[in-house]
């Protein structure tokens, strides 16, 4: 589904190389995790894939179902089924959460040539999905992420994922700032969305999220490269020994 080949990326402003040849292949229905120390380039990868400004791709490619992702505008990538759950969800004062969701959903449907969802159906759908994530009516009415706690913001990200039904989901440090209960709730939300046609890329610093969202493949990223790939046991190895051994091993 997602094919990343030899991806090289630098920061436009600082002329600093962040990704130095990342290669990754995620098949349909697979859950991959990327772990790595701070500054290894994990978040950069998620931003580049979703099309944020400020990065320039100097080499390599990324495709979603064979289509070049990097040439597309962010909204087109979203309509193609790419979804990024932000590490720091953005607050948008003045835009109601419901308006936001409906605008996004209908925009994607329109791009794909599907009819808009009716107000009634939308309301029903959003209530149903919100309930599972323990998102109350008040949270839906408030402006997007404004005044939300850390946990509320992350649950709101998962709600969007549930509503937009993407095929490729990237979760960027979704566990950061979550307590145990909130992590469980968010993970359940994610697990409920796992299906044969939907893939996940879970970016995390710690193994604990992977206790809840079980990955098929674990990659270790350092200094802009994937230095090791393995099964779920690799995450446990990191948990027990830290990154130092792995880094030393590679060097």
């Amino acid at each position: 589904m997602l094919e990343i080949k030899n991806l090289h990326v630098k920061l436009e402003e600082e002329d600093k190389q962040i990704l130095k040849g990342v290669t990754l292949s995620i098949g349909a229905g697979e859950v991959h995790a990327i772990m790595g120390p701070n500054g290894s380039g994990k978040s950069t990868l998620s931003y580049v894939l979703s099309g944020r400004d400020g990065y320039s791709v100097t080499d390599g490619s990324a495709t979603l179902d064979g289509v070049d992702l990097l040439a597309m505008e962010p909204e087109v990538r979203a309509a193609q089924g790419l979804f990024l759950a932000f590490q720091y969800p953005v607050e948008i004062p003045g835009v109601g959460n419901m308006t936001f969701l409906r605008t996004a959903l209908n925009a994607q449907r329109k791009t794909r040539g599907e009819p808009e969802i009716s107000a009634g159906d939308f309301l029903k759908l959003v209530r149903e999905k919100a309930k599972a994530l323990k998102i109350d009516a008040d949270m839906l009415k408030r402006p997007v992420n404004v005044g939300f706690s850390g946990g509320e913001k992350k649950r709101n990200e998962i709600l969007q994922m549930a509503m937009l039904e993407p095929k490729m989901c990237i979760l960027d440090e979704t566990d950061s700032g979550l307590d145990v209960d909130a992590m469980k709730l968010v993970s359940e939300g994610v697990n409920a969305l796992r299906s044969a046609g939907r893939s996940f890329l879970v970016i995390t610093h710690y193994q604990r999220l992977l206790d809840h969202i079980k990955p098929d493949v674990v990659h270790i990223m350092a200094a802009g490269r994937i230095i090791k790939t393995g099964g779920p046991e690799l995450a446990l190895e990191v948990e027990n020994n830290g990154y130092a051994d792995l880094l030393a091993e590679v060097q």
Binding site: S50, G51, R52, D53, E73, P74, E75, R77, A78, A79, F83, L84, F86, P89, V90, E91, I92, P93, G94, V95, T99, F100, T103, A104, L105, A107, Q108, T111, P143, V144, Q160, L164
Partner: protein
């Protein structure tokens, strides 16, 4: 009275072609005397620092093409409709001047002994200190018509004033007087471009616990010029709410002079302005707290592109003894390109200690982070921009209490945004 720098000849030239209309003679004479004493504003006037008054100073109105007046706003509302065409009352297009709880008459036809003789120009005269407002004085002296509205109870319907324009060089001066007795309530709607050059004064006198709602949409004609003044005087526990939408117009100067004379009153004044290209919009507000426990809000937002200029001059004056005042002022601009400008002077002048007064002013581009977030959820760039612009303006629309009216205004904003996407 702040003297204004002007040569007497300039004023004589300006007034050359005008003669005082009949009726309200003492008030008109007094206004003319005030005007002569203060003169016309010039470039060096501090109060006209950011807005050049030459278009108002000119002897005649600049021709302005008559634009698409668009579908009338508030069409879905059951209101008493009153139509002026180029400043002339159009009885045929208007409803009858009868409304339960309201005495409604016209300035041009007010007979001797009319109740408004005691009110006409009174708040304008009081509003000339500490800062001179020559165009308001000129208005009182020369207004050709206007509505005289006396409300004793809760008005059954809103009054909806529609200013149409058919003439390219119309130079119109209208003056409305609104007087609400204790506990009375009225909603006044105004819309339309009115004239090539429009001088508008609205005096609002609110008795204790009176409630006044004012919603205004200034016409979309690109080349029109307007100078408007609202003078509001609030007795105890009165409520004054005013919202103005300005989309387009070459030059608009909207002044509001609000005075709290009684305790526990509230005044909220808001404005949403959107300009593309040759657009100069100036909101100048002066709020005087002269009584205890009053609340004032000034909420002004501007969306500017292609060289549009937005100005905000807002002042909160808290007089000695006006304890427990709660005054807030926010002025913000969204600059959509490098040619546009935002010029602001948000002032506080405070002579009482137990007060809570603050102001905020920001200016900048659309938030990149929010834009990306929306796009990452599949919202196309233009839609995302419009959504964020509407969100930016939302605080001003929130000041409109009636949902139907608010929805009309929001639709109007969306139309404007759709027309000015590039």
């Amino acid at each position: 009275m702040g003297a204004v720098s002007v040569k007497p000849e300039a004023l004589a030239t300006r007034l050359g072609g005008l003669s005082l209309p009949t009726g309200m003679t003492p008030a008109r004479d007094a206004a003319l005397a005030r005007l002569s004493a203060m003169g016309l504003p010039g470039k060096r006037d501090e109060y006209w620092h950011y807005t050049h008054p030459s278009a108002f100073n000119a002897a005649t109105a600049m021709p302005a093409a008559v634009g698409d007046n668009g579908a009338a706003l508030f069409a879905g509302l059951d209101a008493v409709k009153l139509v002026f065409v180029d400043g002339v009352f159009d009885a045929a297009s208007s409803d009858d001047l009868t409304l339960a709880g309201v005495s409604l008459s016209r300035l041009a036809t007010a007979p001797e002994g009319h109740w408004a003789q005691a009110s006409y120009g009174a708040l304008e005269a009081a509003g000339q200190s500490p800062i001179a407002r020559p165009w308001a004085a000129l208005n009182t002296a020369y207004a050709s018509d206007g509505l005289l509205i006396h409300v004793t109870g809760k008005a059954a319907k809103p009054l909806s004033v529609i200013y149409l324009r058919r003439n390219e060089t119309s130079d119109v001066v209208l003056h409305h007087v609104v007087k609400l007795e204790a506990g009375a309530e009225l909603t006044l709607l105004e819309q339309g471009p009115a004239a090539s050059r429009f001088n508008h004064v609205l005096e609002v006198d609110l008795a204790p616990s009176a409630r006044f709602h004012h919603i205004r949409a200034q016409g979309r004609d690109l080349a029109r010029h307007a100078v408007t003044h609202i003078f509001a005087h609030l007795a105890a526990e009165a409520l004054f709410k005013s919202f103005t939408l300005t989309a387009d117009g070459a030059l608009t100067r909207n002044e509001a002079v609000i005075t709290f004379a009684g305790h526990d009153a509230k005044a909220h004044i808001a404005g949403a302005a959107m300009g593309d290209g040759a657009f100069h919009h100036d909101d100048t507000v002066f709020v005087t707290h002269a009584a205890e426990r009053c609340e004032s809000r000034q909420v002004f937002k501007k969306v500017l592109k292609h060289g549009a200029v937005g100005v905000f001059q807002g002042k909160i004056l808290v007089k000695k003894g006006a304890q427990k005042t709660d005054g807030y002022q926010i002025s913000q601009a969204l600059l959509l390109d490098d040619d546009s400008q935002f010029l602001a002077k948000p002032e506080l002048e405070i002579y009482a200690d137990d007060v809570k007064c603050s102001h905020g002013s920001t200016s900048g581009a659309i938030d990149d982070g929010a834009l990306f977030y929306l796009r990452s959820r599949g919202v196309p760039l233009r839609v995302a921009q419009s959504l964020l612009i509407l969100a930016f303006l939302a605080d001003t629309i929130a000041e409109i209490e009636d949902d139907v009216i608010a929805e009309d205004i929001r639709a109007q904003l969306e139309t404007w945004l759709a027309r000015h996407e590039s």
